[in-house]
């Protein structure tokens, strides 16, 4: 009787141990990854496709759950910085490369170089090499997988141009031709272009019509700006020339899009994300427009900036799985589907070369635009850009366009103040 009791006890104990063990295994498998994306990727068709990616990935990884959360630009940065401080980071997240240095500084980004190198060559070769390089401040440091990107485009309102007597069959090939067209538009009583001095990126877009990546951005070793004074003088003169022709609105203002849609604005230099708005206006209100490359000083040179949104992985216990997911969503098949859905250029060169992707007009022009454009704030992931940097560029460009300074004075003061700002 006593033996039977012992046996019963033993079996019950074994069963309990097995149950605990099984529960432990299940717990180890049950992982929830937090995945933060831009808010426009977390709604409508974009969200549906993201959820499809998640479904495909989780089907291959039983026990893994992925929680997608959409956030605005500033909320992404604030959440990631605060998350790093509190040890509560999302596992996989998007952000702009331009805030990469801040995220590295607060240890929000895992160095994924070894994980990247462990991936098959076939996967690694899919990415645009220059885009990938922008995630690598050092040869053995990789802080992101470049995701969607852009090269700025010149959106043209064909109705406005035709009213101004401009032949729209040939886009302007040089800055000189473009300025001549802007003047004609103004003479015809319409606005030529938004005020390009109001936003850092639009200043950079015009700078790129004369300069390039080698004379823009930061010399972090010496904490100096790389802006070339002679090029900046030339660019500031362009802002002076455009001052009487502009709409007074920035390239990002809703008012700018409204002016463009209502046939009062001829040109809009901006990224491809405004295209859905203009495409809709073409359908509903008969807007006639196209998009071409931003002309540079000489024929063959193009202006505009390029930049990439990135997918980053947080360090921590789920870093391997998070990287696997990041690699999955940036892989050719997914990036091709993503590009087709959004008509957006991205960093997976193999996906961009897919015939049905490359045939999309916006992507076709975006690829050329990105190749000819200037990196907006390179090099990335090295050091945080102080807030005084962008505001100094905007202030000096605005002051010169207002006539408070000559272009020479504006360039000289800008560079001196930028160097002070970086030295601090």
């Amino acid at each position: 009787m006593r033996t039977l009791s012992k046996l019963r006890f033993g079996v019950a104990g074994l069963a309990a141990l097995l149950a605990v063990g099984a529960a432990g295994t299940a717990a180890a498998e049950d992982v929830t990854l937090e995945y933060w994306v831009y808010s426009d990727f977390a709604q409508g068709d974009a969200l549906a496709l993201q959820q499809e990616f998640i479904k495909e990935f989780t089907a291959k990884h039983p026990g893994v759950k992925i929680n997608i959360v959409g956030k605005g630009d500033d909320d992404l940065t604030a959440g990631q910085v605060a998350g790093a401080a509190s040890g509560n980071l999302p596992d996989v997240f998007m952000n702009a490369q331009s805030v990469g240095a801040q995220l590295v500084e607060v240890a929000a980004l895992d160095n994924i170089y070894s994980k990247w190198m462990a991936m098959p060559e076939e996967f690694r070769a899919q990415f645009d090499q220059s885009a990938l390089k922008s995630c690598m401040p050092k040869p053995d440091e990789l802080y992101c997988l470049p995701y969607t990107g852009f090269g700025s485009l010149l959106f043209r309102n064909l109705t406005v141009l035709q009213k101004a007597g401009i032949d729209t069959s040939k886009p302007p090939a040089t800055w000189g031709e473009w300025l001549a067209q802007m003047k004609k538009v103004k003479e015809a009583g319409m606005f030529a272009i938004p005020d390009e001095t109001l936003v850092f990126n639009s200043i950079a877009e015009i700078y790129a019509t004369s300069g390039g990546t080698d004379s823009w951005g930061f010399d972090w070793a010496n904490h100096k700006t790389r802006i070339d004074p002679a090029t900046m003088t030339k660019v500031l003169q362009k802002f002076v020339d455009m001052a009487p022709l502009n709409s007074g609105t920035s390239r990002n203002d809703q008012a700018t899009k409204d002016l463009f849609i209502s046939n009062q604005l001829a040109f809009h230099t901006v990224g491809p994300w405004v295209n859905p708005t203009y495409e809709e206006a073409a359908k509903t209100s008969g807007l006639k427009y196209d998009f071409v490359l931003i002309p540079g000083d000489e024929s063959g040179k193009t202006g505009g900036i390029r930049s990439y949104e990135m997918v980053g992985v947080a360090p921590g216990p789920h870093a391997d799985l998070a990287f696997e997911f990041a690699a999955y969503i940036t892989e050719k098949a997914q990036m091709a589907r993503w590009a087709k859905l959004l008509s957006r250029y991205n960093a997976n060169a193999a996906a961009m070369a897919e015939p049905d992707v490359a045939a999309l007009p916006l992507i076709k022009v975006s690829v050329d635009a990105a190749h000819g454009a200037m990196d907006v704030a390179a090099p990335y992931f090295v050091d945080s850009v102080p807030s005084c940097y962008n505001s100094t560029v905007i202030d000096m460009a605005s002051a010169t366009a207002d006539g408070s300074k000559t272009p020479e004075q504006g360039a000289e003061e800008m560079i001196s103040q930028l160097n002070d700002c970086l030295a601090k």
Partner: protein
Amino acid sequence: MSLRRYLPHYVMIAPFMILFAVFFLYPIVSGLYYSFHAWNGVKPPEYVGLANYQKILLSREFSTAMRNLLTYVAITVPLGILVALGLALLVDSFTGRWANFFRNAYFMPVVLPAFLAATIWRWIYAPNFGLLNMMLGWFGAPSVNFLNDTGTMLYALIAVDVWVSAGFNMVIILAGLKNIPVELYEAARLDGANKWQQIVHITIPMLGPVLFFVVTYGLISAMQVFDKPWLLTGSSFTSYGGRRNALLFPVMDMMGRAFGSVRFGEAAAYGFLLTVAIVVLTAVMFGLRRWRGWA
């Protein structure tokens, strides 16, 4: 004996005191500690003495932000209260349905989310075809770039702020108006006082404590102005303050230093300077209250 007697009282105020200590006292004290350190939020803080304060006080952005703030506070607080007082007197003159309608209508901007209010005002202020410019156009006036012309930006913000704050202040002043005994007005009327004299000699003195609250609260809020200029200028952590920093304010600069440049020590020092300024201002207001006998 005393502890046993007051124990239930202590227990009852304990939840508040705990929350107050965790969410107010601790952040203030830790903010003070971090203000003397270089700290990025993750790495161990490094003691730097008064360097953060020195850096802030000597920065161009700080002087611009303070200049903007002083002008803003000097205009927006009195103007907002005058408008609110006018609205309260107007609403008070109505009864029944109309009084409810106007009270709700003027209060609506208060409950509107800031981003929505900013979007509405960006449309109103839009150059060339914004509502305001369209109205100016009817009188042959040229288009004004309210949100990008450095001469008009601050006033454009003040208009938005008065629009939002007037409704809130109006409700408080209205409650004060309802508490003024009607007999005082009747006596004044018998003595031959006109409406204006009644407002100056009865309404405003009787509203003293209410106006004290409205002014103090208005000053504290104005000193911390952030969301409206941030949204009106389309600011981000890397670029804020609008054209030539005409709408740069201390809290915006502090946020930029914290999340744009990851300099939390400097941001903490900034926050502490602002806290001290607000505490001093509030103390001055309470001193004035005692002096005027509004207590």
